[in-house]
């Protein structure tokens, strides 16, 4: 199985649109995962049929029993996450801020604090035309998105380990959900755009990837919106020995296809669809070369 994650650094560069199109075009058996668990959108293009849902339990959360609490404030003074605050003569825990460290539970002199399991999301297992999709929903404002990413990947690998390709739609950024997404993958496809922000964020996310194992590939989306910045991205990639495997032009058909809820490669022949076809061919070659080297 080849494991490929589509990521971006900067948000909104077109990860999900490209992932959905590649899912349709790439050959062989496939399992898909949407690891952008904060704001999961892949399902909006793949029309999945839900098979089952499992609750996601994040870290336990502290709960103070006001009937036992004597209001001494030991918990508040030891909490490093500003999660405990006075309420009347006792104290209360803000579940949005609690990171589940259990220090308050340890320091409380009267055992008023319990650590309680808390459901902070769900993992969904669905069927699409191109194979199973594992996706998730994080309760808005909840933490542990890195753990939820791990749970999504784990379910995909347990259920569909015999597939030829594990294709992941990743999160933006460089923090814990991104690191959790790229750990253990063979290759990342970084989708960037010709803007000063796009190039800046590309450099940062490449720096993170290089601390891990995956092979790094780049695609430039909406490359024709600024030819000179697109050229800066190509040059930088050449200097860094990173293959640019695709360049997709700005094309209003992309937004139309998102509004129709289908991959752009299903919305008739268009410049964007043709460019993604080329991206797919290059990607197959790169990933096969990589496979033979191992």
């Amino acid at each position: 199985m080849i494991r490929l994650a589509v990521i971006s650094g900067k948000g909104g560069t077109g990860k999900t649109m490209i992932t959905a199109a590649l899912a349709q075009l790439l050959p062989g058996t496939l399992v898909l995962a949407d690891c952008d668990v904060d704001a999961a959108n892949l399902e909006l293009l793949l029309n999945p049929k839900l098979i089952r849902t499992e609750p996601f339990m994040g870290m336990k959360s502290a709960v103070i029993n006001p009937a036992i609490c004597i209001g001494c404030g030991e918990c508040e003074s030891h909490c490093r996450f500003n999660a405990i605050f006075p309420e009347g003569n006792t104290y209360r825990v803000s579940p949005l801020h609690c990171e589940g460290c259990a220090v308050c539970n340890y320091v409380c002199p009267v055992q008023a604090v319990s650590m309680e399991p808390r459901q902070t999301g769900e993992v969904k297992y669905s069927q699409t035309e191109r194979g199973h999709l594992v996706h998730a929903r994080l309760v808005p404002g909840a933490g542990n998105s890195g753990l939820l990413v791990h749970a999504v990947k784990k379910m995909a690998l347990e259920q569909d380990r015999d597939c030829d390709l594990f294709l992941i739609d990743g999160p933006p950024g460089t923090g814990c959900p991104l690191i959790s997404t790229i750990s253990g993958v063979d290759a990342v496809l970084i989708v960037t755009e010709p803007s000063v922000s796009g190039l800046h964020d590309l450099k940062r996310v490449v720096a993170v990837c290089r601390q891990f194992r995956p092979r790094v590939l780049v695609a430039i989306n909406r490359f024709d919106l600024d030819e000179s910045l697109a050229e800066s991205i190509r040059q930088w990639c050449t200097e860094e020995s990173i293959p640019v495997v695709g360049e997709i032009p700005f094309d209003p058909v992309v937004i139309d296809s998102v509004r129709k809820g289908v991959p752009v490669t299903r919305a008739g022949d268009s410049p964007a669809a043709q460019a993604i076809q080329i991206l797919k061919t290059n990607l197959e070659q790169e990933l096969t070369i990589h496979d033979n080297q191992r």
Partner: protein, 282 residues
Amino acid sequence: MKIAVASGKGGTGKTMVAANLAFTLSQTCQVTLVDCDVEEPNLHLFFPAPATAKDVTVPVPVIDEKICDRCGKCGEFCQYGALTVLRDRVLFFPELCHSCGGCTLVCPKNAIHEEPKRVGIVTYAKPLPRLDLVSGYLDTGNPFAVPVIRAAKTATAGDSLVILDASPGTSCPVVETLDGCDACILVTESTPFGLHDLQLAVDVTARLGIPAGIVINRSDGKDQATLDFCMNHDLEVMMTIPFDRGIATIQSRGDLLCRVRTEWLKAFSALYGKCCALTGAE
């Protein structure tokens, strides 16, 4: 007045709105702009200026192997699996540590003390006479954005007018950014992705009790679904920015819409007025 700019979906134009709002306000008053998208900070690209930097550190445990008798209490206590006690030594995994300090409390031999570990930097610049820019940068490879966001916010806690640019998403970095803000601008685009993620972002602002208003960016006129959602949830559409390749180019080059097309100053000024109205202030 502290105004956060957030979105749910990435790439909708948070940074563009935050930068132009701060630029507009700085024409008439002192304003602080804070880049809380510490995983991918971009505001400095729009306001190039010399900056000074300060390290952001978090405390992490250091175990004195001479005192430690490998009793295992720290490893049992750590909820994050950051400490594993072996027969002859203790393994510490810094990337899993949340710096809660629990291990130092539970160690019966007092063999654990904490030392600062760098996780990022906060930079300070003054790109315009009345504009301070404070940017958080998470060190690449470090998973935890929250301490860097907290440091950037703490540095601006006493400032009277602060605009904060949040990261995309709806999880802990966004909560940390929004916490304590008076109002939140949610920037969206009129696609099913934009609307789906806007709904999640509205949920976060509601949970935090922060009044929110909407900016529709790159509008191609097909905004009805977004407008309906806003109407049904009593959310004001405070500004609509049309899709225009000229505007896109200004932004992609790292320039400011309000600097290049000064007629937009008035619109961003009005946006600030609407944010104040959200909070009930003048």
